[in-house]
């Protein structure tokens, strides 16, 4: 299960970040922010290849000593980042993919809300609960 889940806008500012434990919040913010380097690079290199059908799932962005960072980019260039504890070896690629898929679906629902302004930070109970379901339970 994830220790941090983030949604990043097309212009690379955060729309949503949640992490456990909360006291490490700043560190996770940095982790997510630095992972954007790799995301940007992957997007720009993918743009050069032929074929419009781009794979949204970017896979493992980079491993640090303590965490694994996975990335996902929607067609509107909104980025999802999931940070998983390195010690959590049971998590397979497929599960990460399905987490992203769930996140993407929920994000789409948020965007469909007529009261949500695209580009604003996400404030949605439904999205919160989906994210909570994917997070490591604190405590």
């Amino acid at each position: 299960m994830a220790v941090c889940i983030a949604v990043i806008a097309k212009e690379n500012y955060p729309l949503y970040i949640r992490c456990v434990p909360v006291q490490n919040e700043l560190k996770f913010h940095y982790t997510v922010h630095t992972s954007l380097d790799v995301v940007e690079e992957k997007i720009s290199s993918a743009g050069k290849s032929i074929g419009d059908q781009r794979e949204l799932y970017l896979g493992l962005l980079y491993p640090t000593e303590d965490y694994k960072v996975y990335g996902f980019v929607t067609n509107t260039k909104v980025k999802f980042v999931i940070v998983v504890d390195s010690s959590n070896t049971s998590l397979r690629d497929n599960e990460i993919r399905s987490m992203f898929r769930k996140l993407h679906n929920s994000f789409t629902d948020v965007m469909c809300n007529p009261f949500h302004i695209p580009g604003d930070t996400i404030k949605s109970k439904a999205f919160d609960s989906i994210v909570s379901g994917m997070m490591v339970q604190a405590g």
Binding site: E11, N12, Y13, P14, I17, E25, L26, H29, Y30, H33, T34, L36, D37, V38, E41, L61, Y62, T64, E65, I117, P118, G119, D120
Partner: protein, 1136 residues
Amino acid sequence: MLTENKGWIHNRRPVMAGSQWELPSELCCRPMAFVALTGLDVVYNAVHRAIWDAFCANRRADRVPISFKVLPGDHEYPKCRTKRTSYEWYIPKGILKTSWMNKHLNLVPALVVLFYELDWDDAQWKEKQSECATKVEIVRTSLQGRNTKVAVVLIQKKTPLPPGEDLVASERAAALCNACDLSGKSLFVLPHTDHLVGYIIRLENAFYEHAQTYYYTEIRRVKSHKEFLNKTTHQLLFVRHQFKIAFFSELKQDTQNALKYYRTAYSLIHELRAHETNMLEIKTLAGFINYKICRLCFQHNTPLDAIAQFRKHVDLCKKKIGSPELAFEHAAWMSKQFQSFGELFDEAIKLGLTAIQTQNPGFYYQQAACYSQERKQLAQQLCQAGKSSSEPLDIQPGGLDFYGQRHWRQGHQSIDPPDAEKEKMGILALQIKERDAPHSELIIALLSNAVAQFKKYKCPRMKSHLMVQMGEEYYHAKDYSKAIKLLDYVMCDYRSERWWGLLTAILTTALRCAYLMASIKDYIIYCMELLGRASNLKEEQKSRIEKNLLKVLMNEVPDAEPECDSSSLTTARCLWGDRMALTASTELTIEVQDYIPFIQCRAKFLAPSFHVDQAVTLLVFLRADCPHPVSFNKLSVYLSNQEYNQWCVVSSGEESMRLWPGKSKSFSFSFVAKTEDVGKKIEVTGIEVMLGRECGRCVFLTWRGAGGDVASAHEALQASRSCQGRDRSNEAPKEVDWDSLAMQPCTMIMPRVPKISVQLSHDPPALISEMYHIGITVHSQENAVAKDVKLTAGLKPGQDANLSQSTHVTLDGLSVCDDAAPALLPDVPLGDLKPGQKLEKSVYVKCMTTGLRVFLFHVAYTINTEVGEQQLLCKCHKDETVTMETMFPFEVSLKFMSTKFEPLEQVVVDIPFLLMADIQSSSPWPLLLASSSLQMLTISSNTPQAPSQLQGVVLQTGECATECFCLRCPPLKSSSSKTIAAGQYLLSWRRKSSTEDSPLTQTAIPLPLVSLDSIPLYIYADLPSFGRVRESLSVRYHIQNRTALVQEVEMAVEPSDAFMFSGLKQVRLRILPGSEQQMLYNYYPLMAGYQTLPQLNISLPRCPSSNTHTLRRFLPQRIFVKPQGRQLDAPSIAAA
């Protein structure tokens, strides 16, 4: 990168000389076979010096890897211990001796070479041979027990003969070998001649072979120990021996095997029983071996193997912390592991390896820094103990027999420490030593290495993150100015990417730095941004910061930031005190545009344009985001024309100058624009808000342009998104909606709206060449006298250049203007215009080509007006444009015809013909044709001075007028050109509607080209216009000879059914030059109606070119014959 920021990328290699964590240099170097050279006097003997230089100079990669050393002949080599015959009672004291690697790299040679000067034909051969043998013996004795080889090189003056030819040489060589107990392979000859380097290279290749044999035997020797070892007591030796074998293999340059043995050693070392006392030793050796493995993998160009090995190494060792009191040692060791791997990786890249964004040395440096930070934290936790009362133990690095052991229990391998008290003392000593370690320096150096790498591999955000860490480390190291410099540098990245959480964290650190170094400007800037909307600090924090900011503005010392180092606080307070005393009256100007300050500012002109007779209104909105109200003392706006600045200032300390949290306040300025600014833009170039008082501390916040800051562009975008479909009418009307408040930084000054009307009257379309009349009526609706009215009329500039050539404008309507008249009449003075007065003016336009034209009528005047209390002399103008089509008035077709009204292709000289002119009107207006005439060049009129047939004819649209001229062409003087230009047809006309005195337009139509022909014979007939049945009708044919020769003519009349005739039926006659013959016939018509006359056949025997056919065209073909009239009698008429 800014130049001043270079400062923090200094000493790339951390200053760790003497640190126990540094890898020993003998481990990190590339092992090379060690060969000792003796018997060379390199100081006093030039020949020996040259030989030595040839050995050591230019040791490039293509030469064999040997490290040479010159030693004296009686050099003492390290003593060899007596070989153990049994390991049964032997208990090893450690894994690897600290001296071992150095010993085999630099002390124990694989080969000792003795240089000796001796020629084969030396006079004292016997003596020299025995001296050489003695020297060899001395070396041998010194190497007692070692397998080191000995070789002899004879330095000779003469070039040797080819082998086998010099019998003396081979004999003496054998003798020398015998005396020295050398094999033939170990005796070399070095002729000291021209090709020294070549000989030396051959020599060293031979030495290299000897050295390899030596290392091979050494490997065999170490391997042979294995059978004596048992697994219970000699576990350490297993590792040691594998390491030694691997190291010898490296010396032998057998890196593949070396790698293999190092790998074995590595797996063996993890089989050792690890406990607190030997953990450090195991880790140290594991680190060494891992280093060797990674190094060789990179060398073999298998970087993935290296990375995999390193990962394995880290995973295996990560948890082997060892003694918890010395946990910082583990962190230091881990840091060093990452650092040295990063360095290996970096080195491999320099040698050609390519790294990628997600796998580059930066990650290892970063992790090393991370462990160094951990080390620092652990050290701070664990090294609290004060100086121990008793004398601290000596724990200087070096002085250890075995790698990774403790000074106070060297060689001890049992699980429990032998002396608990001593153990405690030792740990304490280590802790005390750790306290003095330059942690921050290490961390910063590692981080700056990582920054350099991430910069190279396109990771700007990672780079920024590391720079933040560096900044924080500088803060911990109390180097606040460097910290601020770094943090400032990266802050804008986070600001522009809108990561407010991170920005706030960085700002908080920066604020602490600014406080601790009492940097007032920085302090104010950081406070401002922390109070602003980008900061996500809690309300009470903001409140505290605002209070501090207000204190600084009052020139008081602010309260300390929380979490500051208490020891620095006193210095900071002193610094603040000094600052306050020194800089009591200084002013500070802060450009806030590039930050997100707590006061937002937006300026807008009320309208995108103002007329010059209107007051320009400018609104400035201010809004405070801080938790408490803030007051300011002055607001000034700077405009592109500085003369207006005086109108845009508010100052004073009223209540209105107070900004309430979350509320916006607007300030309205208005001024009258200068008339010279008409047509120009007025722009807000800056806004300045003054905080504080002149008596205290003044801080000017300045915005460039119309305000806004880093975040406002995005906010405006979001606001525009949210506005769509949202009803905001029920909001409080007096409160402006800040989000949707758009800036309007500039306004246009427009001319005063003219209160006159300009009317045009004309009848389009214009006809080509006519003087087209356009009437202009100017009617003033002004309240004052419009002075200096000027009219500019004509073709609007900016159209096709050809149009201005073919358009002429004039005010004179009485005559046709010429080509000199301009296309645009500028500034025609019309005098003054009183209120309500009307003014009319006529303009005539002559267009020479068809097409659309745009005409401009520009009426300008000046008028005095009042704006507010100001008198203003305004220039006004009114433009009218009209688009007009020009067309041909009529179409004229001109045709030549014979007198028989048949179309003529050729005109015959001196024979009359006709010119028909058809004029078809295409003008929508009736045209009056005044006159027409022909202007002839060669042709003359048959009817001179006849009045024009068209005079006074009025043509309606589509009507056609026709005119006919009878012409004759005189004989040509030069008969060279057969086609001639006949001249032109002139037509004078005007519109029917125009006045009598309006000028006539003359249109010239060129006549078609005529081709001329001359004939030798001309014939024409005199005959009545009609005949009557059975009434004689006489026809006279005239035949003229037009040549200068006598012409013979044969003439015959063919019979006809319609006529009887009398006269010569067939005749032959002669006509003199220039004279004429007449032939008279009486025709007697038999039938009524159009009848064909009897055919006349004429032939000229002398001039075959003109025959009947050519001549016949001059003759009438038919005649109308009336029926015979009945005698009318009176009674029949009466009956009728």
